[in-house]
């Protein structure tokens, strides 16, 4: 089925850009509202975020937004002004770029790249540049320490993140995220194709690796040493106020949304619904994907609000001595089974 009118490519490009620009802050706000304000308040008996606006504290997020926008834009005296101002933009840009390849329906994808998942992981690694820029340009030793910790941690956990995905790529036989979704939809479990074959069943190890590494990439507790508020007073973000801080906030929660969407697409079958095809899949796809994203995000934030922080050496040992060997073994086993069957 094609559209009745020919749409010029410039308009399509503008529309796609607008959609991406709208989805990220929206996703970040949804995660911030549902998990940070509501779930955490329930789990930790916090009364504050349940109060503003009357019913269930619905006004809290809007109030926070207004508060951030009217704050003074403080720049430290010794700061490197240009680098300081650009750092949050680099972090947010890397988040925006990831969304371009995540499919939400048979035709609902901004850019269907042949290298799909590889592209997503490559651009998500760019945020480290922004974090190091922020840490250095603040001219503050806590910020610098936070930036250094972030760089060491993000480099270490990028490996298990990428290696954890390789098993899925071997099984699907493609890097294209749309192709990975279709491979799961058309797959069969011992000849039964009722729910397709979500790769979480065969790649449960890869799924676990991906979630743990994503938790570290997002610098969420128990891997939040770069922003550890009790020792580094929130690390590389310490000098940022107002809307510049808001950018880091959107970057953090937007990236959480992006990684949850990637995990849903790679391991949980993405937008696909067995038996639904064509326009119906285009309409229902985003809804299904959003439900899965919320489920994965729930796991991420559940862990975040439950566990205490690891120590720096435990963090590095975990990545290099535990996760990477498991990931390599997973690749070997998947490869052998792929050839054998």
């Amino acid at each position: 089925m094609s559209l009745a009118v020919e749409v010029p490519w410039g308009l399509i490009l503008a529309l796609k850009t607008l959609v991406v620009l709208a989805v990220i802050p929206l996703g970040a706000l949804i995660l911030g509202y549902v998990f940070l304000l509501k779930m955490m308040s329930h789990m930790q008996s916090r009364l504050g975020p349940m109060d503003p606006g009357g019913y269930h504290g619905w006004f809290q997020l809007i109030g926070d937004g207004i508060k951030f926008l009217q704050k003074e834009d403080v720049m430290p005296d010794g700061a490197d002004r240009r680098v300081f101002a650009m750092a949050p933009l680099v972090v947010v840009m890397s988040t925006f770029l990831v969304f371009a390849v995540i499919p939400a329906g048979p035709r609902l994808v901004v850019a269907e790249l042949d290298v799909g998942i590889f592209y997503a992981l490559a651009v998500s690694s760019l945020s480290v540049v922004g974090i190091l820029m922020a840490g250095w340009a603040s001219a503050n030793k806590f910020a610098l320490l936070g930036g250094l910790r972030a760089a060491g941690q993000l480099i270490a956990y990028e490996l298990p993140l990428i290696l954890g995905v390789v098993g899925v790529v071997i099984q699907a036989g493609t890097l294209d995220l749309q192709g990975i979704v279709l491979a799961q939809r058309d797959g069969e479990i011992f000849g039964w194709g009722g729910i397709g074959n979500p790769f979480i069943l065969t790649q449960i190890v890869g799924f676990a690796l991906f979630l743990v590494a994503a938790q570290a990439e997002l610098t969420q507790t128990p891997f939040d040493m770069p922003v550890a508020e009790s020792e580094l007073v929130s690390g590389y973000m310490v000098e940022y106020t107002g809307f510049r801080f808001l950018f880091f906030f959107i970057g953090e929660f937007g990236t959480a949304f992006a990684f949850a969407a990637l995990a849903s697409t790679l391991f949980l079958g993405g937008w696909a619904i067995p038996g639904v095809d064509g326009t119906a899949a285009d309409v229902l796809g985003p809804v299904v994907l959003l439900i899965k994203v919320m489920a994965v995000s729930f796991l991420i934030f559940w862990v975040r609000f439950t566990y205490p922080r690891l120590r720096e050496d435990q963090l590095q040992a975990m990545a290099w001595k535990v996760l990477i060997p498991i990931a390599l073994a997973n690749i070997v086993v998947t490869g052998v089974l792929k050839v054998a069957f």
Binding site: L121, A122, V129, L132, M133, G135, W136, E158
Partner: protein, 166 residues
């Protein structure tokens, strides 16, 4: 092809300007950040050549890992704010000669290797499929590929031997 040529020259100008920034900058961190722009420009040129996979390898390895390690090293050892640290030494003439020689050598080698070869970008429906690259690495060029990986492994072990103190 006009659009590709325009894009090439725009990118080339940005890359050369950023490359001059790398060597002219009086601050090591600024130089490393200019290098990010140059490397991103290289990735963009690869995309213009329909080599999508290579472009994102460039981003992941060079920006996502190499420059990060540069910045990490600079900030771990000394993190100069401002621009009072002298970065120049008195070797402008040898440096210019070496750069010129390298430039001539690279241009000559590339022109000689690809004389008369035209990449048919207009005839393709899209970028080079990743499966084609995989086939050429793991089938046609599998022996050089394995040699390079052994070399890298040797370098890795060497680095560990040099770094450990016991």
């Amino acid at each position: 092809m006009v659009a590709q040529n325009v894009a090439f020259w725009v990118l080339a100008v940005v890359m050369v300007a950023a490359a001059i920034g790398v060597v002219r900058s009086r601050n090591v961190v600024h130089a490393a950040l200019y290098l990010v722009v140059v490397l991103a420009g290289v990735a963009a040129q690869f995309i213009l050549l329909a080599a999508e996979f290579v472009a994102w390898v460039q981003v992941l390895i060079y920006i996502g890992a190499v420059v990060i390690l540069f910045l990490f090293g600079i900030m771990l050892t000394r993190a100069p704010m401002g621009s009072d640290t002298p970065l120049d030494n008195d070797q402008r003439l040898p440096a210019a000669l070496a750069a010129l020689a390298l430039g001539v050598l690279l241009v000559a080698a590339v022109v000689d290797a690809f004389r008369g070869v035209e990449i048919d970008i207009a005839g393709r429906s899209g970028p080079t499929p990743t499966s084609e690259i995989a086939r050429s690495i793991f089938r046609t060029f599998v022996v050089p590929f394995e040699l390079v990986s052994v070399l890298l492994l040797a370098a890795l072990i060497g680095a560990i031997v040099l770094a450990r103190r016991d």
